[in-house]
Amino acid sequence: MKKVLSIMLAAVMIVGFVTGCSAKSSETTAKDSAAEAATTVAAAAAEASEKSGDPEPFTIGFPWATASTDPTFVSIVNNVRAAVESAGGELVLVESDLTADTLINNISELISRGVDGIIFMPASDSMLPTVDQMCSEAGVYYSTMFRSINDADIKDTIYASKYFAGACFEDDEICSYNITKNLVDQGVKNLCVINIAKGDTSSDLRDKGIEKAVKETGINLLNTSYGITVQTDMTKTIESYIAAYPEMDGILLAGTYCDAALPTIEKALSDHNMAGKIKVGRIDFDFTMGEYLANGSFNVAYGGQQQIDPMLSAVILVNSVIGTPIVTDGPFILITNYLELTSSEEADNFLKFFLGDDPVFTADEIKASMIKYYDSSLNEDSFKKIVADFSVADVAARHANL
């Protein structure tokens, strides 16, 4: 009986899969036509009834580490949601560990759920052609956040794609160059670095920037550790640095996915009576900086892009999905600036206005200033101005009364 049952279940699944395969092409064609039709209809609607009514309802898929309770991770979702809802869309979140394998499965799943657009953070350049192929076959727009494309061939392929709406990312190389020079200006001569796993686009660019600054200033780069994701490993790394390099006078946390990285570093330094004696800087703001900036055990942070990058990437995608892309001759690429943070007051404002419940631009603000459907005068320069004006003080001023 078990064998009969096994064979029956297997047969049902196989029939299902085979029909799934065969349905793909017709579904794709239908989706293609639907996407083209939707684009045409939306464009016509936008032209005909500018500023009146809303675009057709749409859904945007977002693979993200939804299990994380880290305020930065939560704020990223809040900002993407604000961008999607600004034009009446719905955000569809799927849990992801953000590896290439899982992201591709996530994107496949989102496509099958019929989303109109997908925003994601690529794990590597080489996964992008696969994503492009999947999205192009299904007629689904996509945009990327945080990561630039370094591989020239892949960049050409992706930028030529009809379904790549664009991307928003920061200049990691310049950022790490600047923060390293900032630490040198504060007296650092022997530096240890902690960075995201090698191969990650941001990690590689940040390494390049650090190398450039080290070469220019002539300081010693003692060691670089990669891919630390848990606090115990962070503690071990700092303790190893202290033991191995007595001359170390600076630590740069160039990137990490470790929760509460800064308190972990400060605790390890305090345990060895080194807190305040070693200059500490980090790229990417977190929610504990104010306290450490106030007591002098932390010295400089470059970041603030974790909220605006995904928000603008989502805005770029939404504009394409509703048929009013910001630019029409290719993908819209925006490069954001890193904000510098050196005082506890700024850190407090960051905590309140960037990591609170509200996004850095509310859905209403986005609707008024970033959705071309409602304001056809928006262009590339409008967004460059938004990026240039963006700062902790700017958000604090706009949201003081929220």
């Binding site: 699944m13 196989i14 899969f17 799934g20 499965n105 799943e109 080489s126 192929q133 990650d200 891919g227």
Partner: protein, 319 residues
């Protein structure tokens, strides 16, 4: 300590409890299928979503079928994720010589590491949990060192990420391994060693050779998973295959696999468990359940399923 097999079955009378226990992995599969189909408003069995479910369980299913042999021996393999990563890494690096090298190199790497595991465990008498855990560190370290981040392969290799090919392969492997496990002397030797290694040895079974072969099979399957992971993403990175060992372990437990090995181990545990797990993951995702809640639900489901489906009727009762 004397061990006596207690036979609870009553010939001639329908034993509902025994029936439900025996078929729980199938019943569980049908339950999760029906429940999630209803909860997702019919999206679960949508044509495209079926392929998502298949892609989710394809790798886990292959990995699970690979570990059935060594689990029937009462052994564990904690290095399957690392072997997948290492196979993908060598496969990606071999693409620089030629794309035709990717498949043999990836599968060969898996086979080699599996053999190494088997030799360490059987010849050096290192417990499998420790040996394979150590191998996972070695594998992960080597993968990170070799790739120095991530390495891509030509996008043209995506032609191998073909659903028809994968379905055909899955069916072939399932059929071949089912026959190997249930109907050949090798499968029976594995289970007899799991039931009592000493008794098997005294009966003339070559225990070491059987163990080495079981770990080699597991390694080979990991190589296969590594290859398909590589052609799906066109990328091998230090994260490739991460936590795969837990996915495989969960899948076989979902299928009601006995961790103690022996004659109670059923091949169906790997297949049914992988499908059930893929449906649970996919169903929760379709319902929009966040990652944190998903982890809680998975933990609770695992406890329930293992508690109910564990085949106690045929297990040894220690008196």
């Amino acid at each position: 300590m004397n061990k006596t097999i207690v036979n609870n079955s009553r010939p001639g009378k329908f034993d509902f409890k025994a029936f439900s226990m025996n078929y729980f992995s199938f019943i569980g599969l049908v339950i999760v299928l029906v429940v999630f189909e209803l909860l997702t408003g019919g999206k679960l069995l949508g044509q495209r979503n079926l392929m998502n479910i298949f892609n989710n369980f394809f790798s886990i299913g292959l990995g699970s079928m690979g570990v059935v042999f060594l689990m029937s021996l009462g052994e564990l393999d904690m290095s399957v994720g690392a072997i997948v990563g290492l196979s993908a890494a060598f496969g990606a690096l071999s693409a620089r010589t030629g794309t035709s090298f990717i498949f043999p190199v990836a599968v060969g790497t898996g086979l080699f590491v599996g053999l190494l595991n088997g030799i360490i465990i059987s010849k050096l008498k290192v417990p499998s949990f420790i040996a394979t855990l150590a191998m996972s560190f070695v594998g992960r370290g080597m993968t990170t060192f070799l790739l120095n981040g991530s390495v891509g392969i030509p996008v043209s290799m995506r032609t191998f990420d073909n659903n028809v090919l994968k379905i055909a392969l899955f069916i072939t492997v399932t059929a071949a391994f089912y026959i190997l496990f249930d109907y050949t002397a090798y499968g029976k030797r594995c289970r007899s060693i799991g039931a009592s290694a000493e008794a098997a040895r005294q009966s003339g079974v070559k225990v070491d050779r059987t163990k080495i072969a079981a770990f080699a099979i597991s390694g080979f399957m990991c190589g296969l998973v590594g290859f398909f992971s590589l052609v799906r993403t066109c990328t091998a990175s230090a994260k490739t295959g991460s936590a795969f060992e837990f996915d495989v372990l969960l899948a076989v437990l979902f299928g009601g696999m006995s961790l103690s090995g022996g004659w109670t181990v059923k091949f169906r545990a790997a297949v049914v468990g992988s499908i059930s797990m893929a449906i649970v993951y996919n169903g929760m995702s379709l319902m929009g359940i966040n990652g944190l809640t998903q982890q809680i639900v998975q933990g609770i489901l695992l406890i329930i399923i293992v508690a109910v489906s564990f085949d106690r009727r045929n297990s040894l009762v220690i008196k």
